[in-house]
Symmetry: C2
Subunit: 188 residues, 2 copies
Amino acid sequence: MLTLSILGFLAEQPLHAYELRNRISGLSGHIRPVSDGALYPALDRLRRAGFVVRHEAPGSGATRRQVFTLTDTGRQEFLRRLAEPAPVEITDRNSFMILLAFLGQLANPVAQLRVLRRRLSFYDQPAGYFYDHGRPLRADEMSDRFRRGMLATAAATKHADVQWLRGVIAELEGEITGRPERVRKLGL
Amino acid sequence: MLTLSILGFLAEQPLHAYELRNRISGLSGHIRPVSDGALYPALDRLRRAGFVVRHEAPGSGATRRQVFTLTDTGRQEFLRRLAEPAPVEITDRNSFMILLAFLGQLANPVAQLRVLRRRLSFYDQPAGYFYDHGRPLRADEMSDRFRRGMLATAAATKHADVQWLRGVIAELEGEITGRPERVRKLGL
DNA sequence: GCTAGCATGTAAACGGTTACATGATTAG
DNA sequence: CTAATCATGTAACCGTTTACATGCTAGC
């Protein structure tokens, strides 16, 4: 996920590591700030893989900035990862949010729809959290108030997510079917 | 977090690794099933640390089960980790949910309250996700619909969490102040 | 006959956390 | 004068993922 965040921000504009760190930390709501020990090696892996190139620039302080720019293959890799996310990037909400932050960079709305529909279909399968003899327990069967709270807040989150997903999917579908019609009309 | 889940389930009853795996996977809503390569080494670390003991039992199939039982020091460690969670276990929602799943095992409601209040106070600080020249952008200032969606669903989640936290905190506070009064009344 | 479930493990590779190391500038 | 911010990095340690390895039983 760190790698995708780096590629995503660099796809917008070249940035140096320090600025990347701030943006990535902001992306998670400062819940889990990136550590330098993760960021600098990650940038070097990307450089060795040929996805970014590095060049020096003066900093606002004394230390010179190492500015990273996405290469063409880096951009291809980024778009591929956006369009074909791994299963965990769909199921894990934190990971999906990072995907969502950069989904707008996927130029094709059909590709955007594919990702959003995968997330929505994941929500189709009901998620039972606790089991008694293999049977998932319903909220009202649970004696523990904290576990009931888990289920209640999870349900609220799911509801909000599904509502939004349905809305944005309908919006995109309208734009896709709407556009060719208009083009046809204008063309005639 | 894997370690806390293991300790939590073993605090309820002795279990073998396979059963633990099922419960831990269920706990996350099957979003991120535990891999054997994480579970078995984790159990062995706990055994070497003296937090669990292992003994054999017949399985339903051919392979014999390795049943793990929490030791007294293991239970102490578990309760300590529940009562004094690391910062990331408060800020990261996934981690906090695991904490919540076992918070009922903390016998003292005052200790439970301390944990819940820490989570609530984390929500006090506003979370800006994207920045423009250092200034956090509001949802209506953002041109990207997916990023607006991120903020919207995050706000809904936060709202549900805060509502629930306030409710359960008030409930616990009532029980704490209520109980001694009744005891006093009965005592007189 | 085959797949799914039950049941336990190991090893290599990878990536992240924590701590260490350095040094200039700016605001209180 | 001191803390925060800017700015870049390294090294040890730790835990997770992924892939490999084995073998029985029950249901289709």
